[in-house]
């Protein structure tokens, strides 16, 4: 079940990237040319919602392969309903995959403020899961601008 939920959150996250940004998205069973991101579920302890690590650099020092790990158990423990769990997983996948696109997060030490989009949050906020609002599964204009500049 947990893996199905993480997988179920990953597809719309990548589909959204294709809609919101200029980045091309393809799905493969094994790593291919281009930047690969493998999304999986793993128990990362009792305070880490998700984690993204570059595991392979090419000769120009750009990341060629990312490991994305989603801590379903922790997200579920913070959720009172299955819908809330699904929303939390979706937010975390959006957040972690955002790192693979080059984004930094915001909110460390001040989790409810300092969005680069002013009063509007995006899934790149750290330490706050939200409640399933649209911003929990999308990137804000500030971050979309960065992504499109970097990937065009």
């Amino acid at each position: 079940m947990p893996n199905t939920i993480v997988q179920g959150a990953a597809f719309p996250t990548f589909d959204n990237i294709a809609v919101q940004t200029v980045v091309n998205v393809e799905y493969h069973g094994t790593c291919k040319d281009g930047t690969d991101a493998r999304v999986g579920q793993q128990d990362l302890g009792n305070t880490i919602f998700g984690e993204t690590t570059c595991v392979l650099l090419n000769s120009n020092s750009f990341c060629d392969r990312w490991r994305v790990r989603i801590n379903y158990s922790l997200i579920n423990s913070y959720s009172s309903t299955s819908t809330a769990t699904t929303n939390g997983v979706r937010k975390t996948v959006c957040h972690e995959v955002g790192h693979t696109l080059g984004l930094a997060h915001y909110g460390n030490g001040d989790p409810y403020f300092n969005s680069p989009d002013g009063s509007t949050n995006s899934c790149m906020i750290s330490g706050y899961q939200g409640g399933g609002q649209a911003w929990t599964r999308t990137y804000g204009p500030h971050h979309v601008g960065h992504i499109n500049a970097w990937w065009s």
Binding site: R38, G40, Q41, L44, G45, N108, W151
Partner: protein, 251 residues
């Protein structure tokens, strides 16, 4: 903190620019991947502390993590996430554990993550974690990064690309001796999985507790003497220590 984020964005820009027009491949894993200090801060020119500031970019060596963030030390210490709570100073860096994973299901470990151990000289103990642990030292485990390896254990680096593993000297330079720290964490264990193998590098103080430092609120460092704490941006070392002590004595 803002400067740190800015630096990260600039670095990421450089990393990503080369991927223009290339496809973005998503592979979905269907299963589990698998005291040297004296008095507290009293003024602008404290007569204690390290010879240089902490380079907080070292905390990105293992990647980015989205963590639970507690608003106050009291909130964190009331939760079950911090069986160990201490203050201390950085004493040195040692080799840490190595974790091997079979991320791709190839039948052999194809991913290797290395860790550094930050040796902390304990100043004040709020929660010891284990009564049998070393009362003078504790360790913090920090990821040095992860790398793809072949079935013989050799790193795979296309076109001789750079390593994704930070060396121990980088940690020594980034985390100066005598830097003050506050620990509010839990013992380190490798993320579990059916294809996970841990090779432990024993700390020099073999009876010392090893804390997971991935969460910045678990391993908070004083970036420069008298300044704010990394992980608890709204607190100085003295404030964080005071509130932690008060939270535990009031319970």
């Amino acid at each position: 903190m803002k400067m740190s984020s800015l630096n990260k964005e600039v670095r990421s820009t450089r990393m990503k620019a080369r991927f223009s027009g290339l496809g973005f491949t998503c592979v979905l894993g269907a299963s589990v991947l698998l005291a040297g200090c004296g008095a507290d801060n009293q003024g602008a020119s404290p007569a204690y502390g390290p010879s240089r500031s902490v380079d907080v970019s070292i905390f990105d060596a293992g990647g980015d993590a989205d963590t639970v963030q507690f608003k106050t030390p009291e909130d964190r210490l009331e939760s079950p996430v911090s069986p160990v709570a201490m203050t201390g100073t950085i004493d040195g860096i040692e080799e840490g554990p190595t974790v091997l994973e079979s991320e791709s299901g190839l039948g052999y470990p194809d991913l290797r993550e290395r860790f550094a151990l930050v040796r902390i000289r304990i100043d004040q103990t709020f929660r010891r974690g284990s009564e049998n642990s070393d009362p003078k030292y504790v360790y913090v485990s920090l990821s040095r990064g992860a790398e793809v390896i072949d079935k013989d254990g050799n790193p795979i680096r296309p076109d001789n690309g750079p390593s994704t593993i930070a060396d121990l000297d980088t940690f020594t330079n980034a985390l100066p001796a005598d830097t003050r720290v506050v620990l509010m964490g839990s013992p380190w264990t490798a993320a579990p999985g059916p294809h996970v193998l841990v090779k432990n590098a024993k700390p020099s103080r073999s009876d010392a507790v090893v804390i997971d430092g991935t969460d910045p609120q678990a391993f908070s460092v004083e970036v420069k003497p008298g300044g704010s704490m990394y992980g608890w941006n709204n607190y100085t070392f003295a404030e964080l220590k005071k509130e932690s002590a008060a939270a535990l004595t009031s319970r």
